[in-house]
């Protein structure tokens, strides 16, 4: 059986230890050197960056997240042993792991690390589909002649480089499609390398829960359970037509996934559907000035991202969460798509004024969707808003200053509330 040492990259014929360096970090599979669709997922990415940059955190449980009221965005593996998980409310995480050191996210550092990893991936293949800062699909089909080595070797080399040059570890899932590659990368975390081969796909999936399917959340899971589907084995018993009839387009996808089939391509250009931002407050508030300040900041963050992506949105949404966790969301469609913070804020503010309930709220957020290229945006100014052109110019000028001197170089007074 073909085998590969993940430390010295020696290729050999089966065995628990590498014949060259005696490392136990060996991956072996009959199809190891034939598979070419991979998913790379960094291990506890934000926490790893923090530990790398601050040696004092070494060996201590670290949680990345915002404030007392926020949620855990990443927990390092030490904190995970205590049961801390991503998206867990911070108070709960601290109950499980009171000794944890909570670090506020430093997005710029993560973006920088992500870019460095991306540059390394770019050397392997042009077919990269990033899912977030810390994970991506890679399609290395047809690159063996170019690199003089099969994809498995190049991927092992990638994570080795990430560790040596960036001090960050990642896990690789290698298989014959995206669905299985993503499943595989999760099997052997952290710093893992797992392979799901074609021959073993069905046997691998059969006993597993359909929860594993990316996109099957709680609601879909509930619907599946109602139909008596918990595992892939259950799914396999269904006729394709019946699945389609019961679950619509998802049914067809399920039928294919049950057989380990996923024809989605690794695409560098997955169209973005929306851009949004939200914040949870330290304390619930109904103070209109404070809410207004947050709304402006959220609008500006959304606008910043839209401008960076050269996109604009035709729909503006407002999201509020009351103290009792009930959600309010409102949306409005604009005549003219926008990427300007001023327009997003004004629309969101209009929606906010119409909500009618006074709070208190624990979260506020805004976003744009129905995205269009920026060339099609902000084309027709508002007749009644004679100050809009001036404010637009001011925003463009502010953007230039912020691009040069940092995002806080110039801020609006209302963002300080």
């Amino acid at each position: 059986m073909p085998a590969l040492c993940r430390d010295c990259l020696t290729r050999f014929d089966a065995g628990k230890r590498c014949p060259a360096c005696h490392s136990r970090r060996v991956v072996q599979n009959d199809e190891l050197f034939d598979l070419s669709i991979a998913h790379m997922d960094c291990d506890a990415f934000y926490a790893s960056v923090e530990k790398r940059d601050n040696p004092e955190l070494e060996g201590k449980p670290v949680i990345i997240g915002g404030g007392r009221r926020g949620v855990v965005s990443t927990a390092c593996y030490i904190a995970r042993i205590k049961g801390v998980r991503s998206a867990m409310p911070m108070f709960q995480a601290l109950k499980l792991c009171p000794e944890a050191i909570v670090v506020k996210p430093r997005m710029s550092a993560y973006v920088e690390a992500s870019r460095a990893i991306r540059a390394m991936m770019d050397e392997l293949t042009p077919s990269i589909e990033p899912l977030s800062l810390d994970e991506a699909f890679l399609d290395l089909t047809g690159t063996e002649r170019l690199h003089g080595a099969p994809p498995a070797v190049m991927l092992a080399r990638l994570v080795r480089r990430m560790r040596n040059e960036l001090g960050l570890t990642g896990s690789i899932g290698l298989s014959h499609n995206k669905f299985l590659a993503k499943v595989a990368s999760d099997l052997d975390k952290p710093h893992g390398f797992s392979v799901i081969d074609k021959a073993g796909t069905e046997a691998f999936l059969r006993p597993r829960s359909v929860r594993m399917i990316w996109g099957v959340g709680q609601a879909a899971q509930g619907a599946l359970e109602k139909a008596g589907i918990r595992t892939f084995d259950d799914l396999l018993r269904w006729e394709r037509r019946d699945l389609q009839a019961r679950f619509g387009s998802m049914g067809d996808r399920l039928w294919h996934l049950a057989r380990g089939e996923d024809r989605r391509r690794v695409s560098a250009h997955t169209p973005m559907k929306s851009i949004s931002n939200e914040t949870t407050f330290h304390e619930d508030t109904s103070d209109p000035d404070i809410l207004d300040g947050h709304l402006w900041r959220m609008s500006q963050k959304v606008a910043d991202r839209a401008k960076a992506k050269e996109l604009a949105g035709r729909t503006v949404t407002l999201k509020l969460k009351r103290a009792d966790f009930s959600l309010i969301s409102r949306r409005t469609t604009l005549r003219d798509a926008t990427q300007m913070a001023d327009s997003i804020y004004r629309s969101a503010r209009g929606l906010f004024d119409q909500v009618g309930s006074v709070g208190p709220y624990r979260l506020i957020g805004t976003g744009i969707s129905d995205l269009v290229p920026e060339i099609d945006a902000d084309r027709a100014p508002d007749l009644l808003d004679t100050g809009a052109a001036k404010r637009g110019q001011a925003e463009r000028a502010t953007d230039k200053i912020r691009a040069r001197f940092g995002p806080d170089a110039i801020v609006k007074g209302r963002s300080l509330r």
Binding site: L351, R379, T386
Partner: protein, 372 residues
């Protein structure tokens, strides 16, 4: 209660009622029409709590009384009855139902007590005047296309009717805008309207009012207060709340210094815009107008779908100008012109453009250009 009516008369009254009732309402009584019979008339009253319409029609009343019944169901029944039939409505107080009889057709409908029917609080009107149906029709027909549907700017969801200084003295003026185009229509101020407060007539009311204005010479009695407006013919009374908001100062939006004048046959212009817009992308629908000495070139360039160009003879003697518009807005504005040539007054490609019929300033339209 028991009365009989000719089917046509009944249909008209019930049709008006069923268009006022809210289709998706949570209060059952609001789906009903209140029918009251007395003397030799039957009246039909419907409301959605913002608008109330009362339609009176002559009827052979055998027994006076009142009840409420589903407006939509009653309308459907009457609509399907043969023309010229005599319809008899009878309230069966024992069963709490109303029967509708015509020829051999017989229907029995559930009722709700008339006491539950909400009656709009009466209002003190500060101005009462009378206007020709055709005058009101022009005021609202020419302005309503510009009403905004944007809920966040609710004060634009109607036509602003007020007294203004027109070209020939005081005028009754209707203005509507959605921030992209604006219509300002004037009519001579009717006697008694001088002290009328400015009101925003909601979109739905404008639609309902239109049904009262079919007959050119009909005199419409208009009553206005700060919170309500009433339009009445001898048979129909339409009362509506007005939008509680401040209409923006539109006067500063109407360009005064636009000097570049283009005169064009409105129908030809509209057809040309419509033709070239065929290839434009669904979303932006931008049309470029390139003006040169007595020549207008309309063009659309949509990278995804194609390009189109058309030349029109116009009267224009200013310097070259290129300006872009949303095709739909141009079409809607051009289609308001019915008598003379359309006169466009431009300033620059970034400034609002003004359009009117010939030299008539009693109807002016403003449209914002878009970047092309």
């Amino acid at each position: 209660m028991k009365f009989s009516m000719e089917r046509g008369t009944l249909l008209k009254a019930v049709a008006q009622a069923q268009s006022v009732v809210e289709r998706r309402n949570t209060i059952p009584i609001l789906a009903n029409v209140l029918i009251e019979a007395e003397g030799d008339t039957a009246s039909f009253r419907a409301t959605d709590l913002d608008i109330e319409v009362v339609d009176k029609a002559s009827a052979q009343v055998e027994r006076a009384g009142a009840t409420t019944v589903s407006a939509v169901t009653l309308h459907e029944i009457v609509r399907k009855l043969p023309d010229g039939a005599l319809v008899t409505l009878t309230e069966e107080s024992a069963s709490g139902r109303i029967t509708v009889e015509a020829g051999r057709s017989n229907f029995s409908l559930a009722t709700l007590p008339k006491e539950d029917f909400p009656v709009m609080a009466s209002s003190e009107y500060s101005a009462n005047f009378s206007a020709d149906a055709k005058v009101l029709r022009r005021l609202f027909d020419k302005s309503k296309f510009a009403i905004s549907t944007e809920e966040t700017r609710y004060y634009l969801n109607g036509v602003y009717m007020h007294v203004a200084d027109g070209e020939d003295g005081k005028a009754l003026r209707c203005v509507a805008t959605d921030g992209h185009r604006l219509a300002r229509i004037d009519a001579p101020l009717p006697k008694g309207a001088e002290d009328m407060p400015g009101i925003i007539v909601p979109r739905k009311t404008v639609g309902e009012l239109r049904k009262l204005l079919e007959d050119d010479d009909m005199q419409i009695a208009v009553s206005v207060s700060e919170t309500k407006v009433r339009f009445a013919t001898p048979d129909i009374t339409l009362t509506s709340k007005v939008i509680d908001g401040t209409f923006p100062d539109y006067t500063r939006v109407i360009p005064q210094g636009n000097t570049r004048r283009m005169e064009v046959d409105a129908a030809d212009f509209a057809k040309a815009v419509d033709r070239v817009a065929t290839v434009s992308s669904e979303r932006s629908r931008a049309v470029k107008l390139a003006l040169d000495e007595d020549r207008l070139i309309l063009s659309v360039n949509a990278p995804d779908s194609g390009a189109a160009e058309e030349e029109l003879a116009v009267a224009y003697s200013d310097e070259r100008l290129e300006i872009g518009f949303n095709a739909k807005y141009l079409l809607e504005i051009a289609s308001q012109v019915d008598r003379e040539n359309a006169v466009f007054l431009f300033n620059s490609s970034g400034d609002p453009t003004l359009m009117r019929e010939g030299n008539d300033t009693s109807a002016v339209y403003v449209v914002m250009p878009m970047r092309v």
